[in-house]
């Protein structure tokens, strides 16, 4: 296997041993991006001088015999809603075109301190609002397994880049499935940590009570290594939890004996795709064969998750996105009075899906409607959380499909509601604040990846990694690689 597909451990060990330089890693990855990304469309911006200097510093430390940090020389990409000092950050929106942030998000600073090489910023649906990356204001990202299909979204650029070997790992954000759904579509591992596990400081806000940063990787072990670096309290984020971070590598025991695997009835009843159903059945059988116990559970309010989500998330978005007013940074339209300046700057800067959600959120929050919409949705959210609490009395981890279908074709979703349905299995996890993992569990007859979703109790990411590691080795892709672009 070539360097482009090595794991984090393989790169780190070779750099520690002096068999590989960070400069060589950087050259190889930049050459591959040059060769392949014209067709794939994953990257929005590439770093140059900064990452070259970071690579040189790692190689200098190694030559001088100084200790190397855990991700020394590991090439990563970042979803373009994570702010990066000196590197253009757009959130996939025209309203931030040309904006150069003056600081690094905490997760970015942590990756840099851990020695990761930040190759560049990757594509997304505008402000994270979408499930196909088709809502980016900048470019189309293709699925490396079949370039006539979407990579999923909103972290579609990162999922495609990881799958195609254009970086070793990527950081995405997940508000209603935006890490796990593209991970499933692109055949990679995607982890949404518990709300509060990872700092949101410097993450361009979409829905603040749901947003969380997490890794997209080619293996469960790599997801554990990335989470280890980004997890933990940040004084800059009052919602980040001041609790210790366990060793995630130690969670990968390969042992699921005695674990109770909960199968939420509503998720399987709502699953129409027979091939995904068969892949899940195989996954369940593999876990039972290795000593896990299957338990039927029920999450009665599952059907309401979509509605609650599409009230809460747009309401929070309409408030968060009020900051893009053309005054302090971002696009400013020409106008002679202040109200016109606000309205024209926003009207010209935001794309159709963002406008739709701002309108929806403003409707739900306006005077006289608050109780019927936002408050009601928050009450339903409490019922959904209570469902999970009850299920976790009977089960240690829940196993569901990640998505109702495999990757769909471009322009396949005609209406907003059809697109929203792409997230029906991933939304409830965010409403409950739970950690969730998508791990590949097979290929469809068309050769498209299928994802299994694992959900665990708050702060029990270790459980997800433990079970996910077993799913990966028992029913994963077994070395199958995407053939759509730049085969390696």
């Amino acid at each position: 296997m070539s360097l482009e597909l090595w794991s984090i451990a393989e790169i780190a060990q070779r750099i520690h041993a002096g068999e590989l330089t960070a400069a060589r890693v950087l050259d190889t990855m930049q050459a591959r991006i040059q060769n392949v990304d014209r067709e794939l469309g994953a990257y929005l911006a590439l770093d140059g001088d900064r990452v070259r200097a970071d690579a040189a510093e790692i190689d200098r430390k190694r030559m001088a015999g100084e200790p190397l940090p855990p991700l020394a020389g590991v090439p990563v990409s970042l979803k373009d809603n994570l702010v990066t000092e000196g590197l253009a950050t757009t959130a996939g929106s025209k309203i931030l075109q040309g904006w150069i942030p003056p600081y690094d998000a905490t997760v970015v600073a942590r990756l840099r301190a851990a020695g990761a090489l930040v190759l560049g910023k990757v594509n997304l649906d505008e402000f994270g609002m979408g499930s196909s990356t088709e809502r980016s204001a900048y470019k189309k990202t293709r699925n490396p397994w079949d370039t006539s299909r979407v990579p999923g979204g909103s972290s579609g650029g990162g999922a495609a880049a990881v799958a195609a070997g254009l970086c070793t790992a990527s950081l995405g954000t997940d508000t209603g499935g935006s890490i796990r759904q593209p991970a499933a579509f692109c055949g990679v591992v995607g982890l949404k940590p518990t709300y509060g596990r990872v700092s949101r400081w410097g993450v361009i806000a979409y829905a603040s009570s749901l947003d969380q940063v997490g890794p997209l990787t080619r293996s469960v072990a790599d997801a554990a290594a990335m989470l280890q670096v980004i997890a933990g309290h940040d004084p800059h984020d009052s919602t980040s939890l001041p609790v210790p971070v366990p060793s995630y590598a130690q969670a990968l025991t390969g042992d699921v004996r005695g674990l109770r695997i909960g199968l939420p009835r509503e998720y399987y009843e709502g699953l129409a795709d027979a091939e995904i159903r068969a892949a899940l059945d195989k996954t369940i059988a593999a876990l039972v064969e290795r000593g896990a116990v299957k338990v039927d559970v029920t999450l009665p309010h599952t059907q309401l998750a979509l509605t609650a989500y599409y009230i809460i998330a747009p309401a929070e978005a309409s408030s968060n996105l009020a900051r893009y007013d053309g005054i302090r940074y971002g696009k400013r339209a020409e106008a002679t009075d202040l109200l016109s300046l606000y309205m024209k700057s926003r009207g010209e800067g935001f794309g159709p899906e963002v406008k739709r959600r701002i309108m929806l959120g403003t409707y739900a929050l306006r005077s006289g409607y608050y109780d019927a919409y936002y408050k009601k949705a928050q009450q339903v959210r409490a019922l959904i959380k209570a469902d999970f609490d009850a299920a976790f009395e009977q089960a240690d981890v829940l196993l569901t499909p990640t998505t109702p279908t495999t990757a769909f074709r471009f322009n396949a979703k005609a209406t907003p509601l059809e697109m929203y349905q792409a997230d029906i299995f991933t939304l409830a996890c965010n409403l409950g604040g739970l950690p969730g993992l998508s791990v590949p569990c097979g290929l469809s007859s068309e050769g498209l990846p299928i994802g299994a979703q694992l959900l665990a109790r708050p702060l029990d990411e270790a459980m997800l990694l433990r079970v996910g590691g077993v799913v990966e080795s028992a029913v994963g892709l077994a070395g199958a690689r995407p053939s759509g672009v730049g085969g390696i």
Partner: protein, 100 residues
């Protein structure tokens, strides 16, 4: 759930400080009506005595000591302002008739 009128859509757009072209207003009128219709399922859910969930996890908002800490220099914070004069951001007159 009733149909949104064109006037309601215009009112919401003004509240959201969002200029919309006539074609956008028309499209949104239909789309928002369809989405809100979908939301009507929520009204049927019994939420008597259910406290709204405002946070994913029960956390207490922490306080920190009120001490000055290093922050971005003004020049960095202002670097992306679309229109500037020195350390000030220039905007159109807020009071009508009082040109800057």
């Amino acid at each position: 759930m009733s149909t949104l009128t064109r006037k309601e859509v215009e009112e919401i757009a003004l509240l959201a400080r969002l200029h919309l072209e006539a074609s956008e207003l028309e499209a949104l009128q239909g789309e928002l009506t369809a989405i809100l219709d979908h939301f009507s399922a929520l009204a049927a859910v019994d939420t008597t005595d259910v406290a709204p969930m405002t946070h994913a996890l029960p956390i207490e908002l922490p306080l920190r000591p009120d001490v000055v800490e290093p922050s971005l220099p003004a020049s960095a914070a202002l670097a992306a302002a679309p229109k500037r004069e020195g350390d000030l951001i220039v905007v159109p007159a807020i009071i009508p008739g009082s040109d800057p």
